[in-house]
Amino acid sequence: MHTYTRFRIRLTLHTLAQLSARLRSSGEIVVLALGPALLGLLAVAALPPMVFTSYPPAPALGLLVLHALAMSLPVALLRPRILPAAVQAWLAPLPVPPALLLRASLLVSGLLVAPLALAYAASLAIWLLQHARPAWLLPLRAAAGTLLSFLLTWACACGLLVHGALRPPAPPRAFSTAATAGGARYVPQPRPGWWFLWRHLFWLPLWRQGSLAGLRQAALLGGTVLASALWMAGPALLPRPAGALMASVLLVLFVHAADDALRGQLARLHAATAGLPLMAGTLGWRARATLLAALALALLALTAGGLAAGAWTHTAGYAWLALAWMVAPLLVCTPPFTPRGRMALVALCMLLLCATGSKIWN
């Protein structure tokens, strides 16, 4: 095998090993909580292409192509990890013959879509080998349609990787349109105090250099507020326990995401500010205190909303409120221990909040 192909495969295996190491830490918890749902998903993995093949040829083909494109989305999302910018920078100018590039990309994309092939095979077996098959299910067409969809997904994944390997990484983008204008002379505006430091070290990185941390937290906060409002309002279409479930899960996810981003940034700052007159320990505790203060504001609003809706009048209400106020300090101040321990803590918080929240209007 050519050295280039071997390198690309090794890079992919390294990325997959990293991903599986991350999943392994929370694997048991996910399997425990979502095991039956995951089994169900596996059983219906090949259902869409099988259903599409029961349609007339023209719409069936169109739907199969769309499905194949959708199934290659994970490869598009994984591409920045499989071809990191630093690797891309020296890979793109290499004089690699097109045939070799295509061969390497085919093998790498094959590795990535192999789990999908297994899922399709299992799903096909479940549907085709059952005694009472649905009338619309034509075995030969279903198998051919699924195979076609899989091959299209593979081709699409291969195309994505070829494009990634040929494209040089984008230069750093300006943070705003004003930055591109240039010519702005520097006027010193240093300010003493914690807020100035916090803005520069913790707030701005959430929104710059393509970071999605700020958007993710904003979306989770918005979701929490919306779910809580719906839960308190209790519209006819949404049963109260469902509202409690949504609000509880989103609240814990929001706190977890905010804390996760803070921990990541503190680790990043540890090296970046090593020589500056800043003490890492003090910086960490002040940043955590600021995060807790911000979370307390959100919880205050939630408490006030619940008070107006009469949610905190019984034991379940008091228990939910107390738990909701405990979640933030618990997640923010607990040492990370292990990723598995962290996931267990997050799952436990969700479970307790869901259990008590669903009892409030019961």
Partner: protein, 221 residues
């Protein structure tokens, strides 16, 4: 060389390095290094991999010694870390730190951490290095030379007693090298602080002391 009329008096700067030890995972860099440095311009020399950058980072408080001690006018780099770092600055590294900031924000952040900085000198340095107009550009988007000039503009405006400059001439254009040489010559003459710099190129400014790590006890071969 002519000195400014209002030349500042020489100040006492005493750096004491005793039995300094530092190890990377794969090798030892220092095993009992002793140094005594004072005000002036110190040219730190040595072959690649002898630990010049590591020594600068240790002196700047950016790395913690595995053993021994570093003191600046009696302040210990570990015990009095915050006070120590307020009087030192490590200026080096070609990959920008805090690269989510614009150049202006990067300068403001450092100015807020060193409140005694000379703002007029900073503005003058930015003008001399021709980078006064990069304030809104992301630090990560600056060229190697521009980032080096940004670092030097700041470093030369801070009232630190110990300034550590790693390969200051790398990536600088001829005009900027001239500006820097003049500034270093002035500082070497006035001896108001201790400047330790590394350079593989011969200095046009006469250093106060030349420190050769290749010939220094406590630096393993």
């Amino acid at each position: 060389m002519e000195l400014d009329e209002n030349v500042q008096p020489r100040v006492e700067v005493k750096i004491e390095v005793d039995a300094l030890a530092f190890h990377f995972k794969t090798r030892s860099v220092f095993t009992g290094l002793d140094l005594r440095l004072g005000a002036g311009l110190i040219w730190l020399r040595g072959r690649n991999g002898r630990g010049k950058t590591t020594l600068l980072k240790l002196l700047g408080g950016a790395l913690a010694p595995a053993g021994g001690s570093i003191r600046l006018n009696g302040m210990d780099s570990r015990r009095d870390a915050l006070a120590y770092r307020r009087h030192t600055l490590y200026c080096g590294g070609e990959a920008p730190e805090l690269d989510w900031l614009t150049a202006g924000e990067w300068l403001d952040l450092h100015l807020s951490l060193y409140p005694q900085a000379d703002l007029a000198a900073l503005q003058a340095n930015l003008n001399l290095f021709h980078i006064a107009d990069v304030a809104r550009q992301p630090v990560g988007g600056l060229s190697l030379g521009q980032y080096k000039k940004l670092q030097l503009s700041l470093a030369l405006a801070l009232p630190v007693q110990l300034l550590l400059i790693d390969e200051p001439f790398n990536g600088l254009d001829a005009q900027a090298v001239e500006v820097l040489q003049q500034d270093l010559a002035r500082r070497a003459a006035t001896r108001t602080s201790c400047i330790v710099l590394t350079s593989h190129l011969a200095l046009r400014v006469a250093p106060t002391v030349t420190l050769d790590l290749d010939a220094q006890p406590g630096v393993p071969l």
